[in-house]
């Protein structure tokens, strides 16, 4: 179920209504039931897969926590979880890649597997792995019950596209139960409304149409169109994914739970390491904690650090999709990180104050990010190279796409304003709440956002990250 679909609106309304009326002790079982229904309503057969992943890993967790050979149990947990992920997500890519060798050398021609990607498998697999590793490291105080573990893995607001949760972060909340307050409910509605508007109005309606048109139009001679399409895609993927995460966080708040922030204005990054602290933050932290640092991180000398960085980014790219284009996309980001670190350039964090002098660095890094997006979006490697070629060659016989340029201009301004909105919206809302007409104004603004999302929803597509 997509969050912007009428069936999800019905589902959410039913869940929230029941959630408010059942006794507190039944709330967690209710969300677990709702999460399983949510998953079943996608493709019922894959509930077995999710159930098996949860059950097997839960059994192995006991071995990790209390067994004589925890390393063995951890190995089994990793092998099982990654095995399912590789089988369902990457089998087609692996067989397809190996096919010429299999046919040429071994004279066998296996059929390329054609599975429908199980919903959210990349996200929940990473969540399972993180919890197994944390348990092995002794970073989980105690094992949760099976039902709580199942809820942690299958929590429906974040099941399909994150943010990726950690046990230490979310299990204590589950143990306490959802804490519903008027403030959380309002914040939840705001995040839901903003997320819906980002996804439906910006990503689907204003941005995707143009980028799809140009990315699919091979061989048309108009560099300005290609640049505008590239910017459109950059903002489309950001508003699509961050809008989805906002909705996930908003729904969790309506149930009384806090989910972590996943995006912080990534296109305001001044260097590559800052970008990965602003873009898909929970994934970046996962890759850092469970891949980069175990590989040795920066503790084994400068060369090994650069190799570790590159490996982490290549695998991070592959996580995004079963295609070599995603590996190339990860590789480009890895290369940017390696060059940046290798040259010893200044590194910033999101907490480093911004100044007007940062604009050139922001612009340079934004364009590098955009060029990398070409490999993420293009159909294949050849199409990506063709697209990049069109950026720099040709004549502008079609004039200027003024409408889309205006949309991009709006997105740039909005992205700049997002930082202030994120930091100042809570205090603005609490000030509004003091006014007698505050509720009416809040309701009206959200109503306009939701109304706008409904009328533009006929144009939209699926979440770009939906099957990741």
């Amino acid at each position: 179920m997509l969050f912007n679909s009428p069936q999800f609106a019905i589902f959410l309304l039913a869940v929230l209504s029941l959630y408010r009326v059942v006794p507190t002790r039944y709330r967690n079982p209710l969300i677990l039931g709702a999460s399983l229904v949510f998953y079943t309503l996608w493709l019922p057969a894959y509930l077995i897969l999710l159930g098996a992943d949860i059950a097997v890993n839960y059994a192995l967790l006991h071995g990790i926590a209390r067994g004589r050979n925890p390393r063995l149990y951890l190995g089994a947990s990793i092998a099982f979880t990654l095995g399912l992920l590789v089988f369902f997500k990457y089998a087609a890519m692996l067989v397809g890649t190996a096919l010429p060798v299999l046919e040429g050398v071994f004279a066998v021609s296996p059929a390329i597997p054609d599975f429908f990607l199980p919903l959210g498998i990349s996200f929940y697999s990473f969540q399972i792995l993180a919890f197994s590793i944390d348990t092995y490291r002794g970073e989980t105080p105690e094992l949760p019950s099976l039902s709580r573990y199942a809820l942690f893995i299958s929590f429906f607001p974040q099941l399909v596209a994150g943010p990726i949760l950690r046990g230490a972060q979310f299990l204590p909340q589950l143990a306490r139960g959802g804490e519903i307050t008027a403030e959380r409910t309002r914040r939840g509605f705001w995040l839901l409304g903003i997320g819906l508007a980002k996804k439906v109005i910006l990503a689907d309606y204003l941005l995707s149409g143009f980028s799809d048109l140009v990315f699919d139009a091979r061989g048309v001679d108009a560099p300005v169109f290609y640049w505008v399409a590239l910017y459109s895609f950059a903002f489309q993927i950001y508003y699509d994914f961050s809008g989805y995460t906002d909705m996930a966080r908003g729904i969790a708040l309506l149930l009384g739970f806090e989910l972590p922030l996943n995006f912080m204005e990534p296109y305001l990054s001044r260097d590559p390491s800052e970008f990965w602290r602003r873009w898909h933050i929970t994934l970046s932290r996962w890759l850092s904690d469970y891949l980069y640092i175990p590989l040795g991180g920066n503790r084994r000398g400068p060369t090994r650090t650069l190799i570790n960085l590159m490996l982490t980014m290549l695998l991070g790219g592959l996580w995004h999709g079963a295609s070599w284009n995603f590996v190339i996309w990860g590789g480009i980001h890895g290369l940017i990180l390696v060059i940046h670190r290798g040259l010893g350039l200044r590194r910033t964090t999101p907490d480093t104050p911004m100044s007007w002098g940062d604009i050139p660095r922001i612009l340079i890094f934004f364009h590098l990010t955009c060029l990398a997006w070409v490999f993420f979006r293009a159909e294949d490697f050849a199409a990506a190279l063709e697209f990049i070629g069109h950026l720099f060659t040709g004549t502008n016989t079609f004039g200027l796409p003024l409408m889309q340029m205006a949309v991009i201009g709006f997105c740039v301004l909005l992205h700049g304003a997002e930082r202030s909105l994120r930091t100042q919206l809570p205090s603005l809302r609490s000030r509004l709440a003091q006014k007698p007409w505050g509720s009416a104004l809040e309701g009206a603004v959200l109503g306009i956002l939701i109304g706008g999302a409904i009328v533009t929803s006929g144009v939209g597509g699926d979440f770009i990250y939906f099957q990741f």
């Binding site: 179920m1 048309v220 003024l402 409408m403």
Partner: protein, 393 residues
């Protein structure tokens, strides 16, 4: 615990303002967009507006056992909207002209643009409930292509399916046509709520909100004197079309176009292919209802496929056999007509048939069907016998 008055009233204000504002935006935008005429192929309700009256007519006629009823199913190769030259009319005429004369027959058209195997799988029980004496169903090899399955599956028609078939439908490859359990239930809910024209208007207006964007584009265009996005779109669409068109034959695809048009059918498909499974399952529903089914495989422009070098006979035979086995194993009759027409019998690149002063392809097709029906005595097959046959197979 009673709610605190302040929270209660502010929640009420909040919710009231939210709903009112959303409604104002929606109605405001719709009134500006204007009520635009809907085309029947644009919505599932539009399609059903065409199909349902014919089904009701069929049900009424089935009560009077004479004349016998034949229901014809198929896509634009059977019913090319808005041209009123259709296979059902021709079949009725062909049966009337036959020698020895066929029993009196009324042929009802249940075909419509882009109704393929999945659409008829969803409508199968509705059609079976109207109790025709025979179902004649046109299927094409293009139905197996990815292009058809991705862009023309009409999953919304699942809303008209009988509730008791939902569980078995979930075991079918519905993911292949973009249908998920939640959508299936929503469509069922919508059909049961009987929203009729309001829902269609809502869908049509939603799909046309782009009009605002087009207007803004026009307004901005006055500063440059051109409409670059529109012209770019047109040029890219033309380029794409050109890349699929045969350089010398204006009404035919080139190699690339044919590969996309027929898709996996050219590679040879088997019984596990989603299209084959939907065909078999739909025929099974008819057979279990005791209604004989004749599935015919539409003529394919083999001459042209050979000319552009995309057809390999063994692979194509494998695909045809997959269709045949699906139909026959489900108790239906299968008539393979994919080789019967030469190149000049096709009017366009989509495989529609010519009907002009020189060639009346639909009439010839209908006569072939009539001969097969009479030779095999399918129309005389009693429903119970057909049912037995279906079970035996």
């Amino acid at each position: 615990m009673p709610p605190k008055p302040r929270i209660f009233w502010s929640s009420l204000l909040f919710a009231g303002s939210l709903l009112t504002s959303a409604l104002v935006v929606i109605l405001g935008v719709f009134s500006l967009a204007g009520q635009l005429p809907a085309q029947p192929w644009q919505t599932a309700i539009g399609v059903m507006d065409r199909i349902l009256p014919n089904l009701e007519e069929l049900e009424k006629q089935a009560l009077e056992t004479i004349p016998r009823q034949i229901a014809v199913l198929g896509d634009s190769t059977v019913d090319f909207y808005p041209v009123n030259e259709k296979v059902p009319d021709r079949l009725q005429q062909a049966l009337a002209r036959s020698s020895p004369p066929a029993p009196p027959v009324a042929v009802t058209n249940l075909a419509f643009l882009a109704l393929g195997p999945t659409a008829y799988y969803f409508l199968a029980d509705r059609i079976a409930a109207s109790r025709p004496d025979l179902i004649v169903w046109a299927v094409s090899l293009t139905h197996a292509s990815e292009r058809w399955r991705r862009s023309l599956p009409r999953p919304e028609l699942a809303g008209w399916m009988a509730a008791e078939r939902i569980a078995s439908t979930l075991t079918m490859p519905i993911d292949d046509i973009g249908l998920t359990a939640d959508k299936l239930l929503l469509y069922q809910l919508l059909v049961r709520a009987d929203p009729g024209s309001q829902w269609r208007d809502l869908r049509v207006n939603l799909s046309r909100i782009d009009k605002f964007r087009a207007k803004s584009e026009e307004w901005l265009a006055q500063f440059t004197g051109t409409q670059p996005e529109k012209s770019f779109g047109i040029v890219s669409a033309l380029k794409k079309l050109k890349s699929h068109k045969h350089p010398d034959l204006p009404d035919r695809y080139n190699r690339l176009g044919e590969i996309e048009h027929f898709g996996s059918a050219l590679d040879g498909i088997d019984s596990g292919h989603p299209t084959v499974r939907f065909i078999g399952a739909a025929v099974q529903v008819f057979s279990e209802a005791g209604i004989p089914v004749l599935v015919y495989l539409n003529p394919v422009n083999i001459q042209h496929l050979e000319k552009v070098g995309v057809v390999e006979a063994p692979k194509l035979r494998r695909s045809v056999n997959a269709y045949r086995e699906a139909v026959e194993n489900s108790g239906g009759f299968f008539l393979d007509l994919h080789t019967v027409f030469p190149d000049n019998y096709f009017s366009d690149m989509s495989g529609h048939f010519r009907h002009d002063d020189e060639i009346e392809a639909q009439t010839e097709l209908a006569e072939t069907l009539a001969r097969y029906i009479l030779d095999k005595g399918i129309l005389d097959t009693r429903r119970a016998e057909a049912s037995e046959m279906g079970r035996a197979k």
